[in-house]
């Protein structure tokens, strides 16, 4: 199929529809509104459902219902709305329902602003809701991945019967890039007949539920969930490496930051600094093995984020036993560092200096 120059937020919607998404439930919020708008434009002509819900609280619960009915379903929002969705995400995880949630991060806390931040890593990757659950989190950094990882999110949600987030920042969401779309998938809901409620005699004995009054039963349910998360770690970690082979410094970043880092790596390589980039594509499961291995191999790791330092905690957790010194550089408030700014930080690290980020 021909390439399309398309806004990332719209590529999400087209990707979702090609992946067979049947329902979209959402509530507008900048910088994610284009997703709801594109969904309202494309879902109905395909005979699919778009509803502007009364709130994010309701939108995610509508997703819970539709996922229970066995269809592919999605919602999208940004920080304040994602906070409200936590109730439904926890319930979906508890009831093991496949729901795809797109997050286009903006500045916080509170109302913050609509400029790009990555300050919702804790909330999304570490879970803002209650209970021992995890969600898979995919972090695209370009238009093509906004489409591809949305499709992947539906696949993973079904594979694990679990909520899956696609997490990016306002910058990536607003960007236009060429995207090549795959062919439309034909999804058969009957494949979920062993657990979903398809409204027939065969499936009416199924139950969708997260209440287990008996302590042992609830513990066993939780253990089962943990086994599922362990399987995600074993089977579905995604990451990208760039110029890391002979690197003495490894930078780590995701989303828009990984793009700026890539350019900064090129700038520094021209100056003779041996630096590369590790880009986690799945934030959960986090590429733990790769980070641990790199921490053993390089002298320095520089983590960059549009936050006060959130993902860096995961890097430290698995990288602390390695020989690399781990530094952090962050910007907040919606400021995105320039290529020169990050190149300067890398140079500082190369010269043995400290970063106060």
């Amino acid at each position: 199929m021909a390439k399309e120059l398309i806004k990332s937020n719209e590529a999400v919607v087209k990707g979702a529809l090609l992946a067979g998404a049947k329902c979209y439930f959402g509530y507008p919020i900048t910088p994610a509104s284009e997703i709801a708008q594109a969904a309202s434009y494309y879902f109905p002509p395909l005979g699919r459902t778009f509803i502007q819900a009364e709130s994010e609280v309701a939108a995610i619960q509508m997703c819970y219902g539709a996922a229970g009915a066995g269809v592919r379903v999605m919602t999208a929002s940004s920080g304040p709305g994602i906070s409200l969705k936590q109730e439904g995400v926890s319930y979906s995880a508890g009831s093991e329902l496949p729901v795809v949630i797109i997050v286009i991060m903006r500045g916080g806390p509170g109302l913050g602003n609509i400029a790009p931040e990555q300050a919702d890593y804790f909330q999304v990757v570490k879970n803002g809701g209650h209970g021992n659950y995890r969600c898979m989190v995919l972090a695209p950094n370009c238009g093509q991945e906004m489409c591809d990882l949305t499709i992947h999110a539906f696949e993973m949600a079904d594979k694990y019967r679990n909520p899956v987030y696609v997490l990016t920042d306002g910058f990536i969401g607003q960007m236009m890039e060429p995207v090549e779309f795959p062919e439309a998938m034909d999804i058969d809901e009957r494949a979920k007949a062993d657990w979903a409620l398809l409204g027939d005699a065969e499936t009416k004995g199924n139950i969708i539920n997260s209440i287990y009054l008996d302590q042992d039963e609830l513990e066993e349910h939780n253990r089962k969930l943990q086994r599922k998360y362990a399987r995600m770690k074993a089977e579905d970690v995604l990451f990208e490496e760039y110029r890391l082979d002979d690197a003495e410094i490894a930078t780590i970043g995701y989303g828009i930051v990984s793009r700026v880092l890539k350019s900064a790596v090129d700038v520094c390589r021209e100056k003779g600094i041996k630096v590369g980039l590790l880009r986690p594509i799945t934030l959960f499961p986090f590429p733990e093995k790769q980070v641990a291995e790199i921490a053993n191999r390089v002298d320095n790791i520089l983590v960059c984020e549009l936050s006060n330092g959130q993902m860096v905690e995961d890097v430290r957790l698995v990288g602390c036993r390695g020989k690399a010194k781990i530094s952090f550089y962050g910007r907040m408030g919606g400021n995105v560092p320039t290529v020169d700014e990050l190149a300067e930080q890398i140079t500082k690290v190369a010269e043995g200096g400290d970063i106060d980020g």
Binding site: Y64, S95, I114, E177
Partner: protein, 477 residues
């Protein structure tokens, strides 16, 4: 009490196998509780209509959280108050199902107040059974939004006071103010007569959904002897004596007969048709062009387009990016977005490159398009040596000061105006860029413009604008 005992309908399990403990025959509700009676009435209607297989019951949070122990239908458990939203998802995903939301007064009228209001207002084709027992049963007898004035509960130990808690919510009266609901009635589970009326209302509400007539809700005044600290007999009397005077029984809305049944048709499209609707099947003019054919200083350009909101700077950038893509190159486009787009300056940044594009930002453009003076003032110093500045002399009364860049000053706004509208000015710029940089081919740019502009009726004017821009730029040589 014999008259309360109804035969067990098919839609209730014969043996409650999901219920924990030894006793799989009896319900878990307290003696004299209204929930059990209502369960039977609902199950009876589901059985009689023959829809048990396609019914999905939603268990709320409250004493009836275990609705799924009893109903031999599809079952799903919802978060506190969210059953109407969950019902919406279920029903929209599969309109053939019969979706029943069963909720208490805390669930429906307090925490889920907006969810029920909005589901009713959307006219969701679902059936809601609302158990009004004027108290929170499950959590041990706290105040509900329907707790009567003066009623003592665990959280109104001195009695509900109008000053502190206001008056009890009358749900069916409230919802009756909406246009969308089809059927709303309040019943009571007290004596045989009222149970018979409730039975009728339950059947009517489910039938309403089967017939595609839209939203229905039956409020049922129901005893909670445990919460009220009364015997079952006293509790029934309390409903009659105290509740009914504030919550009058009867229909508050019924437009079922005036409504056409609506059954959304199932659409199954081929992959081809889906891709066509998504606009992915268009034939596009593509041509592989090597950057080596482009004058050296304009290869792999980083472009910044800046001006007032409304000058079409975003579309200008998009046209360049779309055209770049159609030459087989990598491109990226990002806007400055948010409040700055409204009235103030707007800018967008475009990369066109043979190589992978890292940072999509453009800090140091080698092509700057400045459509107003603030844009030139702000970005002129950032242009790379050897780059080029296109500036709009209609609105900029100075020349660029840099002597290490090429400059192209044209009255873009005036030319656009002359062509019929200010909105054509951006394509005049595009024409000038084609002529000056030799980066993009004219025919491809025109195709790109057609794709990018929203209002296709302006295509001919914009073609003229592009050609005019080329001609004007040529004249400068």
């Amino acid at each position: 009490m014999a008259k309360d005992i109804l035969k067990k309908p098919d839609a209730l399990y014969e043996v409650y196998h999901r219920k924990p403990g030894e006793d799989k025959k009896n319900i878990h509700y307290c003696p004299g509780c209204g929930h059990g009676v209502l369960h039977k009435l609902i199950a009876e209607a589901i059985s009689d209509f023959g829809v048990a297989d396609r019914t999905i019951m939603i268990s709320p949070v409250g004493c009836s959280v275990f609705v799924y122990y009893y109903f031999d239908t599809g079952n799903i458990q919802a978060a506190h108050g969210r059953a109407p939203a969950v019902a919406t998802g279920l029903k929209r995903a599969n309109p053939d199902t019969i979706v029943i939301s069963y909720q208490g007064d805390g669930d429906l009228a307090a925490i889920g107040g907006n969810n029920i209001l909005q589901a009713a207002n959307r006219g969701e084709n679902i059936t809601v059974f609302f158990v009004n027992n004027a108290i929170y049963g499950m959590t041990g007898g706290q105040m509900a939004p329907t707790t009567l004035v003066g009623q003592k509960t665990m959280t109104t130990p001195y009695g509900r006071s109008v000053q502190n808690e206001g008056y009890p919510i009358k749900v069916v009266e409230l919802l009756a103010t909406l246009e969308s609901p089809a059927y709303l009635e309040r019943c009571a589970l007290t004596d045989a007569k009222n149970i018979a009326k409730t039975r009728k209302a339950v059947r009517k509400a489910i039938k309403c959904q089967i017939d595609g007539k839209g939203f229905s809700l039956v409020e049922v005044l129901s005893a909670c002897p445990s919460g009220w600290k009364l015997t079952p007999v006293q509790a029934k009397k309390w409903i009659t004596d105290r509740m009914m005077s504030y919550f009058p029984l009867g229909v508050t809305k019924d437009v079922i007969d005036e409504r056409e049944g609506y059954h959304p048709e199932k659409v199954k499209l081929t992959g081809d048709r889906i891709e066509e609707i998504l606009g992915l099947k268009k034939e596009k003019l593509f041509r592989d062009k090597s950057m080596s054919e482009v004058p050296e200083q304009y290869r792999n350009p980083q472009i910044k387009v800046a001006g007032f909101g409304g000058q079409g700077v975003l579309l200008l950038g998009q046209t360049l990016a779309e055209a770049g893509m159609r030459h087989g190159w990598n491109v990226s486009w990002i806007p400055s977005y948010g409040p700055e787009m409204r009235g103030g300056t707007a800018n967008c940044q475009v990369h066109i490159s043979e190589n992978d594009i890292g940072a999509p930002v453009v800090d140091f453009p080698n092509i700057l398009i400045a459509m107003n003076k603030p844009s030139l003032d702000k970005f002129e110093p950032t242009v790379q040596p050897g780059g080029i500045i296109f500036y709009n002399t209609s609105l900029i009364d100075r020349k660029p000061e840099r002597d290490d860049v090429e400059t192209v000053g044209l009255p873009f706004t005036d030319i656009g105006d002359e062509l019929g509208s200010l909105r054509f000015a951006n394509m005049v710029v595009v024409g000038a860029i084609i002529e000056k940089t030799r980066l993009l081919d004219e025919d491809i740019v025109k195709e790109a413009m057609k794709e990018v502009i929203h209002n296709k009726k302006f295509i001919p004017d914009n073609i003229v604008a592009i050609e005019r821009g080329m001609a004007e730029a040529k004249k400068l040589e």
